[in-house]
Amino acid sequence: MKRLLSIFSFSMLAFIYLPMLILVIYSFNSARINAVWSGFTFDWYRSLVDNRFVLEAVANSLTIAFANMIISTIVGTLAAYAFYKYKFKLDILWKGLIYFPILIPELLMGLSLLILFSQVNIPLGKVTLLIAHITFSIPFVYMIVIMRLQDMGRELEEAAQDLGATPWTTFFKITLPVISSSIFASALLVFTLSLDDFIISFFVAGPNSTTLPIYIYGMIKRGITPEINALAALMIVTTMILVMIAELLRRRGSKNYTPFY
């Protein structure tokens, strides 16, 4: 029975990774249309670099991801700290407000923002993209940081205060260093979320603020080309590396490491 389970599990792992592995491999296939392997090539990657639309999309994606990362991480961390330390009236309402964005389908979040922006006459562009990204990112930062804070417990901060540290000093000299790896992890994850986001971005991006996933969608709709493979492969590898680093950072920080959901 154990062996069956183990075989099944490894097969599942293969099921999960094989398609992406194939994608990466075929991004080096010199055949344009067929799935027949006709030789190794970097051509498709090269054509990406020459494609100014791709470069523009990459630039947009990176800019938004970076700005989002900075803002969401700071704002989310501060909120997590406030909720960890104090009791709030209408606690359930606030927690609901923070967790709901993660739970409802992204489609609905993207659409509602689209409606808001159009009713208030804000033109779609990098700003609306950034606003949307921050909105779905803050809850993630909150969740990760507050878990780490609860893990830390209250004794450390109390000890610092007992020894003469004011709340400010306590936060900067004790709390922040102790939870720092979780903060970095959430920053990385938010960066990744932004980079990879398609559904919400699709609805709130303007004509001149295409992100990479939106561009890929357009490419797929226009027809299957090997350049898509190359682009997708790059995104897969980048995301995987970033997420692995983030998870390792979270593990390093915490005693009771649980992958969150």
Partner: protein, 324 residues
């Protein structure tokens, strides 16, 4: 003797539950005072209120005659040793210990002087550069103590500091702490649920139950003359008797047991003889009763055995009348 801490009519409640009913307590300078009681009796809450981590709903707290109720922890001249030590994981032993002095902006020379002193007291000289995760439980505990006493606080608060350690370590650290307190002459307020620990270490014990003080006294007083039924049952082992309206107790060591051959006393049968190492516990059932009476037989060998018929007696002075 000067009063170091005075707690007047302090009360605390949460969500319709009264954790501490209004109580008043004085702690004298240089004494080792223990707050003793079962879980939930309020002893830790009381300690935390003195430290400044909980705000009392009413009443006032005086430290060296000055009111401190509204002062935050970092402005009170008390220091605490936490139950789980709360060592800062990102700092080594030396940095942990010096933290309080750095907060007070004590000069570097003075810091080093006091550091050396405190390392002597706690035998941590070789561990300065180690990180907390590289230390054993007992060592972490010493660091926590060093970190607190280096500040020369007026009062040291200890929240069940020995709870996480094994028996032998706990026993030796109990004596170490007691000696440390005598040497430093700092007032200690110690919280524990272990009555044996309280008896060994304290100058005075405050027995708490359900948010109230049951009794305050020296270990001898509290042991030999408990005031209430709760205290009689909580401290050591005791035999409780009821006679009409009167409830009284007799300590097992004051119960005499002899062979049944015409001596005056209660007749009983031995139910169990239990070996505990350096003495035996003898449980006896008097005729018609269901609660066993306990006595001790010292020495690691005993002539008593189950089913023997015996006669129990005790001196009238051994009886302590209790309030319920």
């Amino acid at each position: 003797m000067e009063t170091m801490i005075r707690v007047e009519n302090i009360a605390k409640g949460y969500d319709n539950e009264q954790i501490i009913h209004p109580l008043t307590l004085s702690v004298y300078e240089g004494e080792f005072l223990t707050l003793l009681g079962p879980s939930g009796c309020g002893k830790t809450t009381l300690l935390r209120m003195i430290a400044g981590f909980e705000e009392p709903d009413s009443g006032e707290i005086f430290l060296a005659e000055k009111p401190v109720k509204d002062k935050p922890p970092y402005q009170r001249d008390v220091n605490m040793v936490f139950q789980q030590y709360a060592l800062f994981p990102h700092m080594n032993v030396e940095q942990n210990i010096l933290f309080g002095l750095q907060m007070k902006k004590v000069s570097k020379d003075e810091q080093q002087l006091r550091l050396r002193e405190v390392l002597e007291y706690t035998q941590l000289k070789d561990f300065c550069k180690r990180m907390p995760t590289q230390l054993s439980g007992g060592q972490q505990q010493r660091v926590a103590i060093a970190r607190a006493i280096i500040n020369r606080p007026k009062v040291l608060l200890l929240d069940e500091p020995l709870g996480a350690l094994d028996y032998q370590l706990r026993k030796s650290l109990q004596l170490e702490l007691k000696n440390l307190q005598r040497k430093l002459k700092i007032t200690f307020i110690y919280v524990t649920h272990d009555q044996e620990e309280a008896l060994v270490m304290s100058d005075r014990i405050v027995i708490m139950n359900k948010g109230r003080i049951e009794q305050i006294g020296t270990p001898e007083t509290v042991y030999n003359t408990p005031k209430s039924l709760f205290t009689a049952k909580f401290i050591g082992e005791n035999n409780i008797f009821r006679q009409g309206e009167r409830v009284f107790c007799v300590r097992p060591e004051n119960v005499h047991i002899s062979i049944a051959d015409g001596i005056e006393g209660k007749s009983a049968t031995i139910r169990d003889v239990v070996f505990t190492g350096n003495y035996h516990k003898i449980y006896m059932l008097a005729e018609g009763e269901t609660t066993p009476i306990l006595t001790y037989d010292y020495g690691n060998q005993t002539k008593w055995a189950a089913k023997q018929q015996v006669v129990i007696s005790w001196l009238p002075e051994s009886e302590v009348t209790l309030i319920e």
